[in-house]
């Protein structure tokens, strides 16, 4: 046994870490690493400039600025501030009315009113759910070459939107996503939440079932470790983590919680208990009445089932074949898992596909058709189909064993492990109480993750929220709290907010409120030469860091500004048009549904969070602007500037259509003089009137474009796009030029940046 110094032991004990001799594989540096210490709520620091302090956040920030001899920036002007917060909170710019209201509200709590209004907006959930969907690697398709559609996974996206809008406590949010099936049986939302670990990329036609299964487990382990614990767990798949105290064993201990989970796609229970009872009664009646018919149908189908089983089994490894063919009651948990994973390829539900069905010849075929007709006569008795979901559940109460895999290789089994947590925090096995139909393992994991004493979970989420507000987290690497990640710039603040978060019942909205009301958040983005020299990356937060809107916010804000955004919430993913040349890339996935552009224009103008996420074809406009890649958890968006983005903004037909709509909005404001039209266009896009120089610039531009438009209008083949719903009597030449002006305002930096 290695020696542990008394001082170190003391440190570990005060930090609340329990460990035994077995776990002294860790170095003192690892043991004292900040992220593994219990959250400590330090007192709010005392600052010289008390005037500046609006919330405790400001005290923590100002203390460091004063120490560095840097002055914080003055607050941003009201319009800038409103625009910043509205985009930040809802992903959309403020309306003219909202601007007017705030600018004219002289009451001392004017800003507070704005903050509360934003927090209550349903658009808030659509905006902030998108952030979590990045972390959850959400997609509507399987990935790999076939990339089949996941027809019901969108319910998870709607669940997340709803959770944010309802301010679902974060600990409950975790419990539902990790163990919703075990903890809240009968609750359809909790089951949909189990979609969190249903987002693995999946090669459904892979011959190597062991590998496929192992990759699914690896995906869940890595995603869970990164999303909730902010640690690069995946690095410990093949070996002890090279930098962080994550043993390879810990990786498999975490994996073991999921050892008996698999897809549980199917009907969702009805929310309302009376409805559910009604459904059950109706279903029982139909079952009873049609029992004989269905029994006879099944008898006829029996040879087809047997044939499907054999032909399906044929494609697998020997062990899988055996598991498929054996008596179901004799399968051990591992064989049950193999069978479950293989099942969709070796069975069919009520009826096989039409082609297989046609192979029923002679009397059987005839009789089957007759029975089908008879069955249909009972359709009026049959209850309406339940909504279906896609989620992950345990397939039974007993899990197959989990082994440490040498080099992450499924064939190189090492020591068997039980469910457990990070050894540096708790080296003992997790205490698991099995349930009748489930292992109960994930209940234990959820309890550990939501234990207020867990040093990582609250910190990681608070930091994510901070990151999305400011463009950079207190820890600049939101998905890596380890040694290779960044250190917190304001550790005391992070701890203060984390402790507060838990005290406030894990309320995310209360945290937003605290941040938005702070002076730190309200600072202008202006440059202070001296501060910039001392702290060029603005680590100390002496100003607002200007940043480009994310992909979704750009598209949504343009649609909103042009008056086209369809606010309809929820439902299956939609397919807006893609630029010419995009679809040739899709040949591989055409069989799986490809990209069928919506016929209903209103559907194409839904918010971006509702755009179908096909892994092999990210929506090009969003991809250009750095949307998440969906193959793994995305902790922050890359920020690029490329000519492809400029080409998109200049030449994409969709953006031109939006500009037409925007110009139409302007022209339909009655009684506007040509000068007032320019002013109106600026107000709709920038939220403010143009300066004299801008007014002149725009007027000169229109004058310059008009002869071009005249010429184009003269030839039927070159007719320029005109504003939508152009009012009678409007001059088409000027109107066409106004479309160009509208588009350039939408494309300009003032529109695209959160300042």
């Amino acid at each position: 046994m290695r020696q542990v110094s008394a001082a170190l032991l003391g440190l570990a004990l005060t930090a609340g870490i329990v460990y035994t001799a077995e776990s002294d594989v860790f170095t003192p540096a690892q043991r004292s690493f900040w992220a593994f210490q219990t959250v400590k709520k330090s007192p709010v620091p005392v600052v010289k400039n008390q005037q500046w302090v609006k919330t405790p956040i400001d005290s923590f920030v100002l203390a460091k600025l004063e120490e560095a001899g840097i002055q914080p920036n003055a607050p941003a002007d009201r319009l800038t501030l409103l625009r910043r917060a509205t985009i930040d909170m809802t992903g959309l710019p403020p309306t003219q009315e909202e601007i007017q209201q705030f600018l004219s509200d002289k009451s001392p709590n004017a800003w507070e009113k704005v903050v509360d209004r934003l927090l209550a907006s349903p658009a808030y959930g659509e905006r902030w759910a998108r952030h979590w969907l990045d972390v959850a690697r959400y997609a509507d398709s399987n990935g790999f070459k076939a990339d089949e559609t996941r027809p019901n996974i969108w319910r998870y996206r709607d669940y997340v939107i709803d959770a944010f809008n309802q301010d679902k406590p974060y600990d409950r949010f975790i419990r539902e996503q990790i163990a919703g099936d075990e903890l809240y049986p009968g609750d359809p939302d909790a089951l949909v939440a189990m979609g969190f670990n249903r987002h693995w990329i999946d090669e459904t036609n892979a011959a190597a079932l062991f590998t496929r299964r192992q990759e699914t487990l690896d995906d869940m382990t890595t995603a869970t470790g990164e999303a909730f614990l902010g640690l690069t767990f995946g690095c410990a798949r093949c070996h002890n983590h090279k930098f962080d105290p994550i043993l390879q064993k810990d990786y498999y201990r975490l994996q073991s919680f999921f050892a008996n989970t698999s897809f549980g796609d199917g009907p969702l229970p009805l929310k309302d208990p009376t409805q559910r009872q009604k459904y059950d009664a109706q279903k029982a009646l139909w079952d009873e009445k049609t029992k004989d018919i269905r029994a006879e149908m099944n008898k006829i189908l029996e040879p087809l089932r047997a044939a499907k089983l054999e032909s399906g089994a044929h494609t697998f490894e020997e062990q899988v074949k055996e598991a498929i063919r054996m008596d179901p009651s004799k399968r051990d948990p591992w064989q049950a898992m193999l069978y479950h994973t293989a099942e969709p390829r070796v069975t069919f539900d009520e009826e096989p596909d039409a082609r297989t069905l046609r192979s029923l010849k002679g009397d059987d075929g005839k009789r089957y058709s007759e029975l089908k007709k008879q069955l249909a006569e009972f359709d009026s008795l049959r209850p309406a189909k339940l909504p279906e979901g896609q989620f992950m559940v345990d397939i039974g109460p007993k899990a197959p064993p989990t082994y440490v895999l040498r080099g992450g290789n499924f064939d190189l089994k090492g020591e068997e492990v039980q469910p457990g947590f990070l050894s540096i925090l708790d080296p003992t096995d997790a205490k698991v109480a099995p349930l009748p139909n489930s292992t109960g393992r994930r209940t234990a994991l959820a309890a550990w993750l939501t234990d207020p004493k867990n040093p990582l979970v609250a910190r990681v989420m608070v930091n994510r929220i901070w990151h999305y507000h400011f463009g950079k987290g207190i820890v600049a690497t939101p998905g890596d709290f380890g040694r290779m990640g960044s250190r917190p710039t304001h550790p005391e603040l992070l701890d203060y907010l984390s402790a507060n978060f838990v005290e406030n019942g894990w309320s995310i909205k209360k945290l937003h409120r605290q941040i938005l009301l702070s002076n730190t958040y309200q600072q202008s983005s202006d440059l202070q030469a001296k501060a910039a020299e001392a702290d060029p990356d603005n680590k100390l937060l002496w100003r607002w860091s200007r940043r480009r809107m994310e992909a979704e916010a750009i598209r949504d804000s343009m649609l909103f500004t042009s008056g086209l955004l369809n606010p309809q919430m929820g439902g299956p993913g939609v397919f807006p048009p893609v630029p010419a040349g995009t679809l040739s890339d899709l040949s591989a996935t055409a069989a799986a549904g490809g990209w069928k552009t919506e016929k209903d224009v209103a559907q194409t103008n839904r918010r971006s969070v509702y755009i179908f996420v096909r892994r092999n074809l990210r929506y090009p406009m969003l991809q250009e602007f750095d949307s998440a890649n969906t193959f793994e958890s995305c902790d922050f968006r890359k920020n690029t500037v490329t000519p492809s983005q400029s080409l998109d903004l200049l030449n994409n037909d969709l953006i031109l259509q939006w500009a037409q709509s925007l110009a139409g909005r302007v022209l339909n404001d009655s009684g506007l003089t040509p000068d007032a039209q320019i002013e109106r266009t600026f107000k709709l896009t920038y939220g403010r009137a143009p300066s004299a120089a801008e007014q002149k610039l725009a007027a000169d531009f229109l004058t310059r474009q008009m002869p071009i438009m005249s010429q184009r209008l003269a030839d039927a083949k070159t007719k320029p796009p005109l504003p939508a719903n152009m009012p009678a009597g409007a001059d088409p030449v000027r109107a066409a030029a106004l479309v160009d002006l509208s588009q350039m305002l939408l494309d300009s930096n003032e529109f695209l940046y959160i300042n």
């Binding site: 080099g407 202006d526 020299e533 490329t642 200049l650 030449n651 474009q705 350039m744 300009s748 930096n749």
Partner: protein, 487 residues
């Protein structure tokens, strides 16, 4: 109106920072480097950041095409024959090679046994360089190749490896070599991106971190082309748009951005976005022609293997690369096996058969085509992955030796360069008798980068950018020129 000079100064407020640093640094290398930088840094002079800049030394090459074999091609199966592997087949790595110090990515054990080359080697050309028969086409060009057998990287895994091979660091966040080149030399044309990246399969591990601009201004970032027939979307202005109309729209946009950008001159991203419209405008007229492979003859397409299924994708990308450098694009990275294709942990035989087949003819076609067009002397072609593979086997239980794989080997692996002033027909450096570690003339990734920059006319010590108080350079803290490449 604000004084434009003052604006310039503010725009580059870190100029004062640099001067301060300069004074403090006094004499010494840093001082010399900074002086050079101050003199030659077009950025500080307030001109277009993409304006052509004077090289530090006489350039031997104008462009680079980097054929990046992502995932790690096996040196002992391709360019670095080791007869000892045959003699000691499946015997543990002898203690004299210090296997105990190795940390393999996927836990392959040196004791699992040395694994002979999967293919026979032969000598080719006048120079008699050794190549295995996995590369029947590239082997025809050995007299143009300088094969560096002693490359080294710090990375054990792919994400770090690809990142270091592109940026010098295994950690994300530093500028890529293409960005440094663009920063150091500016652009030779204004119609296309200066730095283009192409994939042939999945997304490159780490994606944009490998062709990003890091702490350099955003304008130096690489541009990723899409796979398939339409590498750049939205190239055509909306139907009926006249050039005059489009130009006028962009002029308006630039003005609007200029208004917004007042007093925000420190924000290089705003500036980069404004500039990217100018490039986009030029690309509208130039790029459709540049990326249109239908202009090429059937013979040329066949030369790149575009007429065969297995080589069609990479062949098209290599041909595209030639068309781009022909039009002045400075740096083109063409990934083979993008997304870790070459990563042969299992069944190296099967894996390398596939990727060698997919890339050999296209790369050879590129060399031949460049030569025939007189472009090879100006174009440096680089071949290599993020690391090589272990000379010992990685064994998957239950598999027979012909299905064994190889783990990652960053301790000694092969890359080669051709054209662009490189002296062909030579090998540089050696690995030990089993091809595990570089022994003679080991060359770190930084040496590779320093040498590429040198061939293009840049001194890596003078190619610096002030960041967080340090004069950062492409080679981080190292970099020795591989002078044999051109001497």
């Amino acid at each position: 109106m604000a004084d434009p000079m003052l604006n310039k100064l503010k725009h580059h407020w870190n100029v004062s920072n640099r001067r301060e640093f300069f004074t403090q640094a006094g004499s010494g290398l840093a001082g010399i480097a900074l002086a050079a930088m101050l003199a030659e840094d077009g950025y500080a002079a307030g001109v277009d950041p993409l304006a052509p800049k004077k090289p530090h030394v006489a350039p031997r090459a104008k462009n680079v095409i980097w054929c990046f074999m992502e995932g790690g091609p096996s040196q002992v199966d391709l360019f670095d024959p080791k007869p000892l592997l045959d003699k000691m087949a499946l015997q543990p790595v002898p203690p004299s090679f210090h296997p105990e110090t190795l940390l393999t990515a996927q836990g392959a054990k040196p004791s699992d046994g040395l694994f002979p080359a999967r293919r026979p080697f032969k000598q080719y050309g006048q120079s008699g360089l050794w190549v295995s028969d996995w590369l029947p086409y590239i082997s025809q060009h050995v007299d143009d190749l300088a094969v560096i057998r002693s490359c080294q990287s710090d990375a054990v895994n792919h994400v770090g490896g690809v990142c270091q091979m592109n940026t010098g660091s295994i950690l994300a966040g530093r500028p890529s070599l293409g960005a440094w080149l663009t920063y150091g030399l500016g652009t030779a044309q204004k119609n296309l991106p200066t730095f283009v990246v192409m994939q042939d399969d999945k997304e490159i591990l780490g994606a944009v971190q490998n062709y990003g601009s890091g702490f350099l201004p955003a304008t130096y970032q690489g541009t990723l082309f899409r796979q398939g027939d339409t590498p750049i979307l939205n190239l055509k202005p909306p139907a009926g748009t006249t050039d005059e109309q489009q130009r006028s729209k962009i002029d308006l946009l630039q003005k609007l951005n200029e208004f917004f950008g007042r007093n925000k001159e420190d924000d290089t991203e705003l500036d980069a976005r404004t500039r990217s419209y100018e490039l986009a405008y030029q690309m509208q007229s130039s790029a459709p022609e540049a990326v249109d492979l239908s202009k090429e003859s059937d013979a040329t397409k066949a030369l790149y293997g575009m007429d065969e299924k297995e080589t069609a994708v990479y062949g098209a990308n290599c041909l595209m690369a030639r068309r781009l450098v022909e039009r002045g694009v400075r740096f083109v990275e063409v990934y083979s096996g993008s997304g870790s294709g070459w990563d042969a942990h299992q069944d190296v035989n099967n894996n390398h058969t596939k990727w060698c087949k997919a890339s050999d003819k296209p790369v050879a076609g590129l060399l031949a085509d460049l030569k025939a067009r007189g472009m090879l002397e100006d174009t440096l072609v680089v071949w290599g992955g993020e690391f090589g593979r272990t000379p010992f086997a990685q064994i998957t239980a239950g598999q027979t030796p012909e299905k064994y794989g190889r783990d990652h080997n960053p301790w000694g692996f092969t890359m080669w360069m051709a054209g662009g002033g490189v002296k062909g027909g030579q090998t540089i450096g050696t690995t030990d008798e089993i091809g595990l570690r570089a022994v003679d003339e080991p060359h770190h990734v930084w040496d590779i980068h320093a040498s590429i920059l040198y061939l293009l006319g840049l001194d890596h010590l003078k190619t610096t950018y002030m960041h967080n108080g340090r004069a950062e350079r492409p080679t981080v803290t190292g970099g020795n020129l591989i002078t044999k490449l051109w001497a």
